[in-house]
Amino acid sequence: MKRITTIIIAAAALAALLTGCGKSEAERVADIYAFFGQDTTIADSYEKINRVCPDRPAGLSGSNDIIDYFTMMASRCKGKSDINFFDMGPGKGRDILLEIPGKENDRVTLVAAAADTWRDSLTTKNDDLGCIAAFEVFNAFKSLNIKPRNTVRILLYQDVAGTHAGLHPYLEYSRSKDEEHLMQLFLTSDPEGPRKTFTVGEPTSIYRTFTKVIPPFFEGYGNYTFDRGEQRFEAWELKAPLYTYNIDRNDAANDIAAVVSLVMLMD
Protein backbone atom coordinates (compact mmCIF):
# COMPACT_ATOMS: atom_id res chain seq x y z
CA MET A 1 0.00 0.00 0.00
CA LYS A 2 2.87 2.30 0.90
CA ARG A 3 4.43 1.59 -2.47
CA ILE A 4 1.20 2.52 -4.23
CA THR A 5 0.95 5.72 -2.20
CA THR A 6 4.57 6.56 -2.95
CA ILE A 7 4.01 5.96 -6.66
CA ILE A 8 0.91 8.16 -6.65
CA ILE A 9 2.73 10.96 -4.80
CA ALA A 10 5.73 10.71 -7.12
CA ALA A 11 3.48 10.76 -10.20
CA ALA A 12 1.60 13.77 -8.86
CA ALA A 13 4.86 15.58 -8.12
CA LEU A 14 6.18 14.77 -11.59
CA ALA A 15 2.93 15.92 -13.19
CA ALA A 16 3.05 19.12 -11.15
CA LEU A 17 6.64 19.69 -12.23
CA LEU A 18 5.86 19.04 -15.87
CA THR A 19 2.72 21.16 -15.89
CA GLY A 20 4.35 24.08 -14.20
CA CYS A 21 2.71 24.03 -10.75
CA GLY A 22 4.82 25.80 -8.18
CA LYS A 23 6.36 28.21 -10.68
CA SER A 24 6.88 31.80 -9.68
CA GLU A 25 4.84 34.53 -11.31
CA ALA A 26 7.90 35.77 -13.21
CA GLU A 27 8.51 32.27 -14.61
CA ARG A 28 4.90 32.07 -15.68
CA VAL A 29 5.13 35.41 -17.48
CA ALA A 30 8.20 34.08 -19.30
CA ASP A 31 6.24 30.94 -20.26
CA ILE A 32 3.39 33.04 -21.59
CA TYR A 33 5.64 35.18 -23.76
CA ALA A 34 7.42 32.05 -25.01
CA PHE A 35 4.05 30.46 -25.81
CA PHE A 36 3.02 33.35 -28.03
CA GLY A 37 6.49 33.88 -29.42
CA GLN A 38 7.01 30.36 -30.71
CA ASP A 39 4.13 29.95 -33.08
CA THR A 40 2.10 31.85 -35.57
CA THR A 41 -1.29 31.22 -33.98
CA ILE A 42 -2.19 34.87 -33.74
CA ALA A 43 -1.34 35.73 -37.34
CA ASP A 44 -3.19 32.61 -38.50
CA SER A 45 -6.23 33.43 -36.40
CA TYR A 46 -6.27 37.00 -37.58
CA GLU A 47 -6.08 36.01 -41.22
CA LYS A 48 -8.54 33.15 -40.87
CA ILE A 49 -11.16 34.98 -38.91
CA ASN A 50 -11.14 37.95 -41.21
CA ARG A 51 -11.62 35.60 -44.11
CA VAL A 52 -14.45 33.76 -42.37
CA CYS A 53 -16.15 36.81 -40.88
CA PRO A 54 -16.84 39.71 -43.22
CA ASP A 55 -17.09 43.42 -42.33
CA ARG A 56 -20.18 44.32 -40.40
CA PRO A 57 -21.80 47.26 -38.70
CA ALA A 58 -22.14 47.33 -34.95
CA GLY A 59 -25.35 45.90 -33.62
CA LEU A 60 -27.02 42.82 -32.32
CA SER A 61 -27.44 40.95 -35.54
CA GLY A 62 -25.15 39.33 -37.96
CA SER A 63 -22.23 38.22 -35.84
CA ASN A 64 -23.14 34.59 -35.52
CA ASP A 65 -20.30 33.60 -37.83
CA ILE A 66 -17.84 35.18 -35.41
CA ILE A 67 -19.42 33.41 -32.48
CA ASP A 68 -19.41 30.14 -34.41
CA TYR A 69 -15.73 30.58 -35.22
CA PHE A 70 -14.69 31.08 -31.61
CA THR A 71 -16.94 28.24 -30.47
CA MET A 72 -15.17 25.94 -32.88
CA MET A 73 -11.78 27.23 -31.72
CA ALA A 74 -12.71 26.81 -28.05
CA SER A 75 -13.79 23.23 -28.62
CA ARG A 76 -10.28 22.52 -29.91
CA CYS A 77 -8.58 23.96 -26.84
CA LYS A 78 -6.66 21.63 -24.59
CA GLY A 79 -8.63 20.24 -21.70
CA LYS A 80 -12.26 20.63 -20.89
CA SER A 81 -13.92 23.74 -22.20
CA ASP A 82 -16.94 25.29 -20.62
CA ILE A 83 -18.82 27.16 -23.31
CA ASN A 84 -22.12 28.95 -22.87
CA PHE A 85 -24.23 31.18 -25.04
CA PHE A 86 -26.72 33.92 -24.47
CA ASP A 87 -29.26 33.70 -27.22
CA MET A 88 -31.01 37.03 -27.53
CA GLY A 89 -33.77 35.90 -29.79
CA PRO A 90 -34.40 35.34 -33.51
CA GLY A 91 -32.42 37.66 -35.73
CA LYS A 92 -30.61 39.22 -32.83
CA GLY A 93 -27.63 37.05 -32.14
CA ARG A 94 -25.64 35.48 -29.37
CA ASP A 95 -22.88 36.14 -26.91
CA ILE A 96 -20.26 33.54 -26.20
CA LEU A 97 -18.95 32.76 -22.78
CA LEU A 98 -15.84 30.67 -22.15
CA GLU A 99 -14.94 29.78 -18.62
CA ILE A 100 -12.07 28.32 -16.66
CA PRO A 101 -13.50 27.62 -13.20
CA GLY A 102 -11.35 28.85 -10.34
CA LYS A 103 -10.78 27.32 -6.95
CA GLU A 104 -12.90 30.16 -5.62
CA ASN A 105 -15.60 29.94 -8.21
CA ASP A 106 -17.80 32.71 -6.86
CA ARG A 107 -15.13 35.28 -7.83
CA VAL A 108 -14.62 36.17 -11.42
CA THR A 109 -12.03 37.87 -13.59
CA LEU A 110 -13.88 38.94 -16.71
CA VAL A 111 -12.09 39.41 -20.03
CA ALA A 112 -14.42 40.87 -22.63
CA ALA A 113 -14.38 42.03 -26.22
CA ALA A 114 -17.01 43.10 -28.72
CA ALA A 115 -17.92 40.47 -31.28
CA ASP A 116 -20.08 42.60 -33.50
CA THR A 117 -17.85 45.38 -34.73
CA TRP A 118 -15.47 44.19 -37.31
CA ARG A 119 -12.78 45.97 -39.24
CA ASP A 120 -14.40 48.79 -41.20
CA SER A 121 -17.75 48.72 -39.51
CA LEU A 122 -19.89 51.83 -39.35
CA THR A 123 -19.36 52.84 -35.77
CA THR A 124 -16.87 51.35 -33.33
CA LYS A 125 -14.47 49.36 -35.38
CA ASN A 126 -11.68 46.88 -35.40
CA ASP A 127 -12.48 44.63 -32.50
CA ASP A 128 -11.31 41.51 -34.29
CA LEU A 129 -7.99 41.35 -32.46
CA GLY A 130 -9.75 42.22 -29.20
CA CYS A 131 -11.79 39.04 -29.63
CA ILE A 132 -8.75 37.01 -30.59
CA ALA A 133 -6.85 38.32 -27.56
CA ALA A 134 -9.76 37.51 -25.23
CA PHE A 135 -9.98 34.04 -26.71
CA GLU A 136 -6.23 33.56 -26.37
CA VAL A 137 -6.45 34.21 -22.63
CA PHE A 138 -8.63 31.12 -22.49
CA ASN A 139 -6.36 29.18 -24.84
CA ALA A 140 -3.15 30.11 -22.99
CA PHE A 141 -4.53 29.25 -19.55
CA LYS A 142 -5.60 25.88 -20.91
CA SER A 143 -2.43 25.17 -22.86
CA LEU A 144 -0.04 26.24 -20.12
CA ASN A 145 -2.15 24.53 -17.48
CA ILE A 146 -2.51 27.68 -15.42
CA LYS A 147 -5.05 26.90 -12.71
CA PRO A 148 -6.66 30.17 -11.71
CA ARG A 149 -7.56 30.90 -8.12
CA ASN A 150 -10.63 32.82 -9.29
CA THR A 151 -12.80 31.93 -12.26
CA VAL A 152 -11.50 33.37 -15.52
CA ARG A 153 -14.35 34.10 -17.88
CA ILE A 154 -14.18 35.25 -21.47
CA LEU A 155 -17.15 37.16 -22.86
CA LEU A 156 -17.50 38.00 -26.53
CA TYR A 157 -20.57 40.18 -26.63
CA GLN A 158 -22.69 42.11 -29.05
CA ASP A 159 -24.04 45.61 -29.49
CA VAL A 160 -21.03 47.41 -28.13
CA ALA A 161 -21.77 50.67 -29.90
CA GLY A 162 -25.48 50.73 -29.18
CA THR A 163 -27.05 49.96 -25.85
CA HIS A 164 -24.55 47.32 -24.80
CA ALA A 165 -27.51 44.94 -24.99
CA GLY A 166 -25.13 42.02 -25.28
CA LEU A 167 -23.81 42.71 -21.81
CA HIS A 168 -27.14 42.59 -20.04
CA PRO A 169 -27.80 38.85 -20.31
CA TYR A 170 -24.35 38.31 -18.87
CA LEU A 171 -25.09 40.57 -15.94
CA GLU A 172 -28.29 38.66 -15.20
CA TYR A 173 -26.47 35.35 -15.50
CA SER A 174 -23.78 36.48 -13.10
CA ARG A 175 -26.27 37.89 -10.59
CA SER A 176 -28.15 34.61 -10.57
CA LYS A 177 -24.92 32.94 -9.49
CA ASP A 178 -24.37 35.50 -6.74
CA GLU A 179 -20.84 36.17 -7.92
CA GLU A 180 -18.40 38.94 -7.34
CA HIS A 181 -16.15 40.32 -10.06
CA LEU A 182 -12.58 41.16 -9.19
CA MET A 183 -11.79 42.93 -12.43
CA GLN A 184 -13.23 43.47 -15.89
CA LEU A 185 -10.72 43.75 -18.70
CA PHE A 186 -12.05 45.09 -21.99
CA LEU A 187 -9.97 44.49 -25.09
CA THR A 188 -10.10 46.40 -28.35
CA SER A 189 -7.93 46.75 -31.43
CA ASP A 190 -8.57 50.25 -32.65
CA PRO A 191 -5.74 51.44 -34.95
CA GLU A 192 -6.20 54.92 -33.58
CA GLY A 193 -6.22 53.78 -29.96
CA PRO A 194 -3.32 53.97 -27.50
CA ARG A 195 -0.39 51.56 -27.83
CA LYS A 196 1.22 49.45 -25.11
CA THR A 197 -0.97 51.08 -22.50
CA PHE A 198 -3.16 49.40 -19.94
CA THR A 199 -5.69 51.60 -18.24
CA VAL A 200 -6.21 50.55 -14.66
CA GLY A 201 -9.48 51.55 -13.06
CA GLU A 202 -8.51 50.93 -9.48
CA PRO A 203 -8.98 53.37 -6.62
CA THR A 204 -5.92 55.54 -5.94
CA SER A 205 -4.55 53.53 -3.04
CA ILE A 206 -4.75 50.18 -4.87
CA TYR A 207 -3.39 51.77 -8.06
CA ARG A 208 -0.31 52.93 -6.13
CA THR A 209 0.41 49.43 -4.87
CA PHE A 210 -0.39 48.00 -8.31
CA THR A 211 2.17 50.25 -10.02
CA LYS A 212 4.83 49.15 -7.55
CA VAL A 213 4.15 45.44 -7.97
CA ILE A 214 2.89 44.67 -11.48
CA PRO A 215 4.98 46.67 -14.03
CA PRO A 216 8.30 45.04 -13.05
CA PHE A 217 6.98 41.71 -14.37
CA PHE A 218 6.82 43.22 -17.86
CA GLU A 219 10.35 44.60 -17.91
CA GLY A 220 12.29 43.06 -20.75
CA TYR A 221 9.16 42.27 -22.75
CA GLY A 222 8.21 45.73 -24.00
CA ASN A 223 7.70 49.27 -22.95
CA TYR A 224 4.29 48.96 -21.33
CA THR A 225 2.63 51.71 -19.34
CA PHE A 226 -0.14 51.43 -16.80
CA ASP A 227 -2.26 54.56 -16.63
CA ARG A 228 -4.97 55.21 -14.16
CA GLY A 229 -8.32 55.03 -15.96
CA GLU A 230 -12.04 55.21 -15.36
CA GLN A 231 -12.98 53.09 -12.40
CA ARG A 232 -16.13 51.68 -13.87
CA PHE A 233 -17.93 51.05 -17.08
CA GLU A 234 -21.20 52.73 -16.20
CA ALA A 235 -23.11 51.23 -19.12
CA TRP A 236 -23.75 48.01 -17.33
CA GLU A 237 -23.19 48.47 -13.63
CA LEU A 238 -20.78 45.64 -13.03
CA LYS A 239 -19.21 46.55 -9.73
CA ALA A 240 -15.60 45.75 -10.54
CA PRO A 241 -12.56 47.80 -11.46
CA LEU A 242 -12.37 48.41 -15.19
CA TYR A 243 -9.14 47.67 -17.05
CA THR A 244 -8.69 48.22 -20.78
CA TYR A 245 -6.09 47.42 -23.40
CA ASN A 246 -5.89 48.17 -27.11
CA ILE A 247 -4.08 45.50 -29.13
CA ASP A 248 -1.52 46.78 -31.62
CA ARG A 249 -1.95 44.74 -34.78
CA ASN A 250 1.72 45.27 -35.65
CA ASP A 251 2.80 43.53 -32.46
CA ALA A 252 -0.26 41.44 -31.66
CA ALA A 253 1.46 38.34 -30.29
CA ASN A 254 3.45 40.29 -27.70
CA ASP A 255 0.46 42.40 -26.79
CA ILE A 256 -1.67 39.33 -26.25
CA ALA A 257 1.09 37.80 -24.12
CA ALA A 258 0.97 40.96 -22.02
CA VAL A 259 -2.80 40.67 -21.63
CA VAL A 260 -2.61 37.01 -20.60
CA SER A 261 0.19 37.84 -18.16
CA LEU A 262 -1.81 40.60 -16.55
CA VAL A 263 -4.83 38.32 -16.08
CA MET A 264 -2.56 35.70 -14.50
CA LEU A 265 -0.85 38.23 -12.22
CA MET A 266 -4.11 39.75 -11.04
CA ASP A 267 -5.68 36.38 -10.25
Binding site: L182, S205, T209, V213, P241
Partner: protein, 365 residues
Amino acid sequence: MKKLFIISAALLLLASCTSLKEEFQPVFTGKYKEPDKAQPAQMSANTTIAELAAMYNGKPWDIDKNIIIAGKVSTTDKPGNFYKSLYIQDETGGIELKFGRNGLYNDYLPGQTLYVKCKGLTLGMYGFSSSASYGGNGMVQLGFTDPSGEYETSYLENPLLIDQHIFKGETGTEVASEVITESQLPGKNDTQKNNRYIGKLVTLKGLKYANEAFVLLYINSNWDKKSPQNRVFLSPSNVASDPTAGITTWAMSKAKMTEYLTSGRWDAFRVGSGNTYTGETVGDFKGEGSYPGFEKAAYSVSQYFKMGSKEIQIRTSGYCKFSDVEIPESVLSGKSTIDVTGILTLYQGNIQFTVNSIDDIVIND
Protein backbone atom coordinates in the same frame (compact mmCIF):
# COMPACT_ATOMS: atom_id res chain seq x y z
CA MET B 1 -19.01 -25.73 -13.90
CA LYS B 2 -20.33 -22.85 -11.81
CA LYS B 3 -18.65 -24.27 -8.68
CA LEU B 4 -15.37 -24.67 -10.54
CA PHE B 5 -15.60 -21.04 -11.68
CA ILE B 6 -16.26 -19.79 -8.11
CA ILE B 7 -13.35 -21.84 -6.70
CA SER B 8 -11.02 -20.55 -9.44
CA ALA B 9 -12.11 -16.97 -8.79
CA ALA B 10 -11.56 -17.42 -5.03
CA LEU B 11 -8.08 -18.86 -5.61
CA LEU B 12 -7.21 -16.00 -7.94
CA LEU B 13 -8.44 -13.49 -5.36
CA LEU B 14 -6.34 -15.15 -2.65
CA ALA B 15 -3.31 -15.09 -4.90
CA SER B 16 -3.78 -11.43 -5.68
CA CYS B 17 -4.12 -10.66 -1.96
CA THR B 18 -0.85 -12.42 -1.32
CA SER B 19 0.88 -10.40 -4.00
CA LEU B 20 -0.68 -7.24 -2.59
CA LYS B 21 0.67 -8.17 0.82
CA GLU B 22 4.12 -8.10 -0.70
CA GLU B 23 3.35 -4.68 -2.07
CA PHE B 24 2.65 -3.48 1.45
CA GLN B 25 6.29 -3.79 2.45
CA PRO B 26 7.85 -0.42 3.19
CA VAL B 27 10.09 0.78 0.38
CA PHE B 28 11.69 3.85 1.87
CA THR B 29 13.04 4.09 5.37
CA GLY B 30 15.37 7.04 4.93
CA LYS B 31 14.71 10.60 5.95
CA TYR B 32 13.31 13.17 3.57
CA LYS B 33 15.07 16.49 3.33
CA GLU B 34 13.48 19.07 5.61
CA PRO B 35 11.67 21.75 3.60
CA ASP B 36 13.13 25.24 3.74
CA LYS B 37 11.57 27.20 6.53
CA ALA B 38 10.12 30.60 5.71
CA GLN B 39 11.98 33.29 7.58
CA PRO B 40 9.69 35.31 9.84
CA ALA B 41 9.54 39.00 9.02
CA GLN B 42 11.85 41.19 11.08
CA MET B 43 9.75 44.26 11.70
CA SER B 44 8.33 46.23 14.55
CA ALA B 45 5.09 48.10 14.99
CA ASN B 46 5.07 51.86 15.36
CA THR B 47 1.37 52.15 16.14
CA THR B 48 -1.01 50.16 18.31
CA ILE B 49 -4.31 48.86 17.05
CA ALA B 50 -6.17 51.25 19.38
CA GLU B 51 -4.14 54.19 18.06
CA LEU B 52 -4.90 53.17 14.49
CA ALA B 53 -8.61 52.78 15.23
CA ALA B 54 -8.60 56.25 16.81
CA MET B 55 -7.53 57.67 13.44
CA TYR B 56 -10.89 56.68 11.94
CA ASN B 57 -12.93 59.86 11.80
CA GLY B 58 -16.27 58.73 10.46
CA LYS B 59 -15.35 58.14 6.84
CA PRO B 60 -12.96 55.82 5.00
CA TRP B 61 -9.34 56.91 5.13
CA ASP B 62 -6.82 55.91 2.48
CA ILE B 63 -3.87 55.62 4.81
CA ASP B 64 -1.03 57.84 3.62
CA LYS B 65 1.26 57.57 6.63
CA ASN B 66 3.95 55.03 7.38
CA ILE B 67 1.94 53.14 9.95
CA ILE B 68 2.84 49.60 10.94
CA ILE B 69 0.70 47.62 13.34
CA ALA B 70 1.36 44.14 14.66
CA GLY B 71 -0.87 41.56 16.22
CA LYS B 72 -1.39 37.88 16.78
CA VAL B 73 -3.95 35.98 14.71
CA SER B 74 -6.89 35.24 16.98
CA THR B 75 -9.31 33.59 14.56
CA THR B 76 -9.42 30.64 12.20
CA ASP B 77 -11.62 30.11 9.18
CA LYS B 78 -11.26 26.33 9.33
CA PRO B 79 -14.73 25.63 10.79
CA GLY B 80 -16.15 28.32 8.48
CA ASN B 81 -17.64 30.78 10.93
CA PHE B 82 -15.06 33.37 9.92
CA TYR B 83 -15.05 33.70 6.16
CA LYS B 84 -12.51 35.60 4.06
CA SER B 85 -11.35 37.56 7.05
CA LEU B 86 -9.24 37.23 10.14
CA TYR B 87 -8.64 39.19 13.29
CA ILE B 88 -5.34 40.15 14.80
CA GLN B 89 -4.94 41.63 18.25
CA ASP B 90 -2.37 43.39 20.39
CA GLU B 91 -2.63 44.55 23.98
CA THR B 92 -4.84 47.49 23.01
CA GLY B 93 -7.49 45.81 20.86
CA GLY B 94 -8.24 43.68 17.86
CA ILE B 95 -8.92 44.52 14.23
CA GLU B 96 -10.31 42.66 11.25
CA LEU B 97 -8.19 42.25 8.14
CA LYS B 98 -10.48 41.70 5.17
CA PHE B 99 -8.93 39.05 2.96
CA GLY B 100 -10.83 37.96 -0.12
CA ARG B 101 -9.53 34.42 0.25
CA ASN B 102 -10.62 31.06 1.56
CA GLY B 103 -8.47 28.68 3.58
CA LEU B 104 -6.62 31.42 5.44
CA TYR B 105 -5.84 28.96 8.22
CA ASN B 106 -3.25 27.39 5.92
CA ASP B 107 -1.31 30.63 5.56
CA TYR B 108 -1.95 32.53 8.77
CA LEU B 109 -1.80 30.35 11.82
CA PRO B 110 -3.62 31.11 15.05
CA GLY B 111 -1.06 32.72 17.34
CA GLN B 112 1.17 33.87 14.48
CA THR B 113 2.23 37.50 14.57
CA LEU B 114 1.30 39.53 11.49
CA TYR B 115 2.80 42.90 10.65
CA VAL B 116 0.63 45.21 8.59
CA LYS B 117 2.12 48.06 6.59
CA CYS B 118 -0.94 50.22 6.50
CA LYS B 119 0.12 52.85 3.97
CA GLY B 120 -1.94 52.18 0.85
CA LEU B 121 -4.69 50.37 2.76
CA THR B 122 -8.02 51.83 3.77
CA LEU B 123 -9.30 52.23 7.30
CA GLY B 124 -13.06 52.04 7.38
CA MET B 125 -16.02 50.97 9.48
CA TYR B 126 -18.56 48.27 8.81
CA GLY B 127 -21.93 48.28 10.52
CA PHE B 128 -22.35 51.89 11.63
CA SER B 129 -25.89 53.18 11.98
CA SER B 130 -26.94 56.68 12.88
CA SER B 131 -30.46 55.62 13.84
CA ALA B 132 -31.48 57.30 17.08
CA SER B 133 -33.42 54.28 18.31
CA TYR B 134 -30.87 51.51 17.81
CA GLY B 135 -27.84 53.08 16.11
CA GLY B 136 -24.20 53.08 17.05
CA ASN B 137 -20.80 52.01 15.92
CA GLY B 138 -19.76 49.05 13.89
CA MET B 139 -16.22 47.76 13.61
CA VAL B 140 -13.18 49.64 12.41
CA GLN B 141 -11.42 47.39 9.91
CA LEU B 142 -8.59 47.35 7.38
CA GLY B 143 -8.92 46.55 3.71
CA PHE B 144 -8.56 48.16 0.32
CA THR B 145 -10.72 50.96 -1.03
CA ASP B 146 -14.03 49.61 -2.28
CA PRO B 147 -14.19 50.43 -6.01
CA SER B 148 -17.98 50.12 -5.94
CA GLY B 149 -18.27 52.68 -3.14
CA GLU B 150 -20.84 50.43 -1.48
CA TYR B 151 -18.74 49.72 1.60
CA GLU B 152 -16.03 51.67 3.35
CA THR B 153 -13.43 48.97 2.65
CA SER B 154 -13.13 46.09 0.22
CA TYR B 155 -11.30 42.78 0.38
CA LEU B 156 -7.56 42.33 -0.06
CA GLU B 157 -7.76 40.05 -3.07
CA ASN B 158 -4.56 39.75 -5.00
CA PRO B 159 -1.73 37.81 -3.34
CA LEU B 160 0.94 40.00 -4.99
CA LEU B 161 -0.70 43.11 -3.62
CA ILE B 162 -1.39 41.54 -0.22
CA ASP B 163 2.31 40.73 0.11
CA GLN B 164 3.07 44.44 -0.02
CA HIS B 165 1.09 44.98 3.16
CA ILE B 166 0.89 41.82 5.27
CA PHE B 167 4.06 40.22 6.60
CA LYS B 168 4.22 37.00 8.55
CA GLY B 169 6.16 37.02 11.81
CA GLU B 170 6.92 34.36 14.38
CA THR B 171 4.46 31.56 15.02
CA GLY B 172 3.79 31.85 18.72
CA THR B 173 1.39 30.34 21.17
CA GLU B 174 -2.29 30.75 20.42
CA VAL B 175 -4.04 33.79 21.84
CA ALA B 176 -5.47 33.16 25.31
CA SER B 177 -8.90 34.69 25.76
CA GLU B 178 -9.49 37.24 28.51
CA VAL B 179 -12.49 36.70 30.74
CA ILE B 180 -14.45 39.93 30.98
CA THR B 181 -17.39 41.09 33.04
CA GLU B 182 -20.56 42.94 32.14
CA SER B 183 -19.07 46.29 33.12
CA GLN B 184 -16.20 45.80 30.70
CA LEU B 185 -18.47 45.32 27.69
CA PRO B 186 -18.39 48.16 25.16
CA GLY B 187 -21.00 50.88 24.83
CA LYS B 188 -22.72 51.51 21.53
CA ASN B 189 -20.44 54.37 20.52
CA ASP B 190 -17.16 52.72 21.50
CA THR B 191 -14.30 51.63 19.29
CA GLN B 192 -10.95 50.03 20.07
CA LYS B 193 -9.92 53.58 21.00
CA ASN B 194 -11.86 53.49 24.25
CA ASN B 195 -12.59 49.82 24.88
CA ARG B 196 -9.60 47.53 24.67
CA TYR B 197 -11.71 44.37 24.36
CA ILE B 198 -13.32 45.26 21.04
CA GLY B 199 -12.11 42.95 18.29
CA LYS B 200 -10.33 40.71 20.78
CA LEU B 201 -10.77 37.10 21.82
CA VAL B 202 -12.67 37.21 25.12
CA THR B 203 -14.72 34.88 27.28
CA LEU B 204 -18.16 35.84 28.57
CA LYS B 205 -19.53 33.76 31.42
CA GLY B 206 -23.02 32.92 32.58
CA LEU B 207 -24.99 34.02 29.53
CA LYS B 208 -28.70 33.31 29.67
CA TYR B 209 -30.87 32.75 26.61
CA ALA B 210 -33.04 35.80 25.90
CA ASN B 211 -35.67 33.89 23.91
CA GLU B 212 -35.05 35.92 20.78
CA ALA B 213 -33.45 35.30 17.40
CA PHE B 214 -32.83 37.33 14.28
CA VAL B 215 -32.45 36.32 10.64
CA LEU B 216 -32.60 38.56 7.59
CA LEU B 217 -34.10 36.71 4.63
CA TYR B 218 -33.98 37.86 1.03
CA ILE B 219 -36.87 37.06 -1.23
CA ASN B 220 -34.62 36.97 -4.26
CA SER B 221 -30.85 37.10 -4.07
CA ASN B 222 -30.76 38.83 -7.48
CA TRP B 223 -32.80 41.80 -6.27
CA ASP B 224 -31.49 44.83 -4.40
CA LYS B 225 -30.61 43.52 -0.96
CA LYS B 226 -31.32 46.88 0.67
CA SER B 227 -34.83 47.20 -0.71
CA PRO B 228 -37.70 46.59 1.77
CA GLN B 229 -39.47 44.66 -1.02
CA ASN B 230 -36.68 42.09 -0.83
CA ARG B 231 -36.32 41.76 2.92
CA VAL B 232 -37.95 39.76 5.67
CA PHE B 233 -36.82 40.24 9.26
CA LEU B 234 -37.42 37.09 11.25
CA SER B 235 -37.48 38.95 14.53
CA PRO B 236 -39.77 39.89 17.41
CA SER B 237 -40.37 43.28 15.77
CA ASN B 238 -42.05 41.47 12.89
CA VAL B 239 -44.18 38.90 14.71
CA ALA B 240 -44.12 39.72 18.41
CA SER B 241 -45.74 36.43 19.37
CA ASP B 242 -42.98 34.46 17.66
CA PRO B 243 -39.71 36.02 18.95
CA THR B 244 -37.43 33.14 17.95
CA ALA B 245 -39.22 32.18 14.72
CA GLY B 246 -38.87 28.64 16.01
CA ILE B 247 -35.13 28.60 15.31
CA THR B 248 -33.34 26.34 17.77
CA THR B 249 -29.98 26.03 15.98
CA TRP B 250 -26.94 28.33 16.04
CA ALA B 251 -27.40 29.10 12.33
CA MET B 252 -29.19 27.68 9.30
CA SER B 253 -27.68 25.69 6.49
CA LYS B 254 -29.37 25.71 3.12
CA ALA B 255 -31.07 22.40 3.93
CA LYS B 256 -32.31 23.64 7.30
CA MET B 257 -33.50 26.85 5.71
CA THR B 258 -35.51 24.97 3.11
CA GLU B 259 -36.97 22.73 5.79
CA TYR B 260 -38.29 25.70 7.78
CA LEU B 261 -39.65 27.53 4.74
CA THR B 262 -41.49 24.62 3.21
CA SER B 263 -43.04 23.72 6.53
CA GLY B 264 -44.92 27.03 6.39
CA ARG B 265 -43.48 27.93 9.79
CA TRP B 266 -42.63 31.49 8.68
CA ASP B 267 -45.65 32.22 6.49
CA ALA B 268 -46.96 34.94 8.79
CA PHE B 269 -43.76 37.03 8.77
CA ARG B 270 -44.20 40.30 6.92
CA VAL B 271 -42.03 41.49 4.03
CA GLY B 272 -40.21 44.74 4.75
CA SER B 273 -37.41 46.38 6.70
CA GLY B 274 -37.76 47.43 10.30
CA ASN B 275 -41.09 49.23 10.50
CA THR B 276 -41.62 49.55 6.74
CA TYR B 277 -43.76 46.68 5.53
CA THR B 278 -45.00 46.09 2.00
CA GLY B 279 -48.26 44.41 2.97
CA GLU B 280 -47.05 41.00 1.80
CA THR B 281 -46.06 38.04 3.91
CA VAL B 282 -43.69 35.14 3.37
CA GLY B 283 -46.74 32.94 2.72
CA ASP B 284 -47.67 35.09 -0.31
CA PHE B 285 -44.55 33.83 -2.06
CA LYS B 286 -45.48 30.22 -1.69
CA GLY B 287 -45.53 28.40 -5.00
CA GLU B 288 -46.29 24.78 -5.54
CA GLY B 289 -44.60 23.53 -2.43
CA SER B 290 -41.72 25.98 -2.68
CA TYR B 291 -40.74 29.58 -2.14
CA PRO B 292 -38.90 30.76 -5.26
CA GLY B 293 -35.80 32.74 -4.46
CA PHE B 294 -35.91 32.12 -0.73
CA GLU B 295 -34.15 28.82 -0.48
CA LYS B 296 -31.02 29.63 -2.41
CA ALA B 297 -28.65 30.08 0.47
CA ALA B 298 -27.67 29.32 3.99
CA TYR B 299 -28.34 32.05 6.52
CA SER B 300 -26.56 33.59 9.45
CA VAL B 301 -28.50 33.62 12.70
CA SER B 302 -28.19 35.89 15.71
CA GLN B 303 -29.24 34.12 18.87
CA TYR B 304 -29.78 36.61 21.72
CA PHE B 305 -28.41 36.10 25.20
CA LYS B 306 -28.22 38.25 28.32
CA MET B 307 -25.12 38.93 30.34
CA GLY B 308 -26.67 40.59 33.36
CA SER B 309 -28.65 43.41 31.79
CA LYS B 310 -26.58 43.58 28.59
CA GLU B 311 -27.73 41.93 25.40
CA ILE B 312 -25.27 39.76 23.48
CA GLN B 313 -26.01 38.50 19.97
CA ILE B 314 -24.17 35.31 19.18
CA ARG B 315 -23.95 35.47 15.42
CA THR B 316 -23.17 32.34 13.47
CA SER B 317 -22.77 31.72 9.76
CA GLY B 318 -25.08 29.33 7.94
CA TYR B 319 -22.06 28.09 6.00
CA CYS B 320 -20.04 26.99 9.04
CA LYS B 321 -19.58 23.37 10.00
CA PHE B 322 -21.76 23.66 13.09
CA SER B 323 -24.58 25.76 11.65
CA ASP B 324 -27.32 23.20 12.29
CA VAL B 325 -26.18 22.16 15.75
CA GLU B 326 -29.16 22.38 18.09
CA ILE B 327 -28.93 24.64 21.10
CA PRO B 328 -29.60 22.35 24.10
CA GLU B 329 -33.13 22.49 25.44
CA SER B 330 -31.83 23.35 28.89
CA VAL B 331 -30.26 26.53 27.45
CA LEU B 332 -33.33 27.49 25.44
CA SER B 333 -35.56 27.02 28.49
CA GLY B 334 -33.25 29.17 30.64
CA LYS B 335 -32.31 26.33 32.98
CA SER B 336 -28.67 26.35 31.88
CA THR B 337 -26.36 29.24 31.12
CA ILE B 338 -23.42 29.22 28.73
CA ASP B 339 -19.81 30.40 28.81
CA VAL B 340 -18.67 31.51 25.41
CA THR B 341 -15.30 32.45 23.89
CA GLY B 342 -15.07 34.45 20.70
CA ILE B 343 -14.43 37.79 19.06
CA LEU B 344 -16.25 40.73 20.62
CA THR B 345 -17.63 43.09 17.98
CA LEU B 346 -20.17 45.86 17.53
CA TYR B 347 -22.79 46.10 14.79
CA GLN B 348 -24.98 49.21 14.77
CA GLY B 349 -24.08 49.70 18.41
CA ASN B 350 -25.14 46.19 19.42
CA ILE B 351 -22.76 43.63 20.81
CA GLN B 352 -22.19 40.77 18.41
CA PHE B 353 -20.10 37.79 19.29
CA THR B 354 -18.55 35.31 16.87
CA VAL B 355 -17.03 32.02 17.95
CA ASN B 356 -14.26 30.18 16.12
CA SER B 357 -15.80 26.75 16.71
CA ILE B 358 -18.64 25.03 18.52
CA ASP B 359 -16.13 24.01 21.22
CA ASP B 360 -16.02 27.66 22.25
CA ILE B 361 -19.54 27.36 23.64
CA VAL B 362 -19.66 25.60 27.02
CA ILE B 363 -22.97 24.65 28.61
CA ASN B 364 -23.15 25.12 32.39
CA ASP B 365 -25.24 22.44 34.06
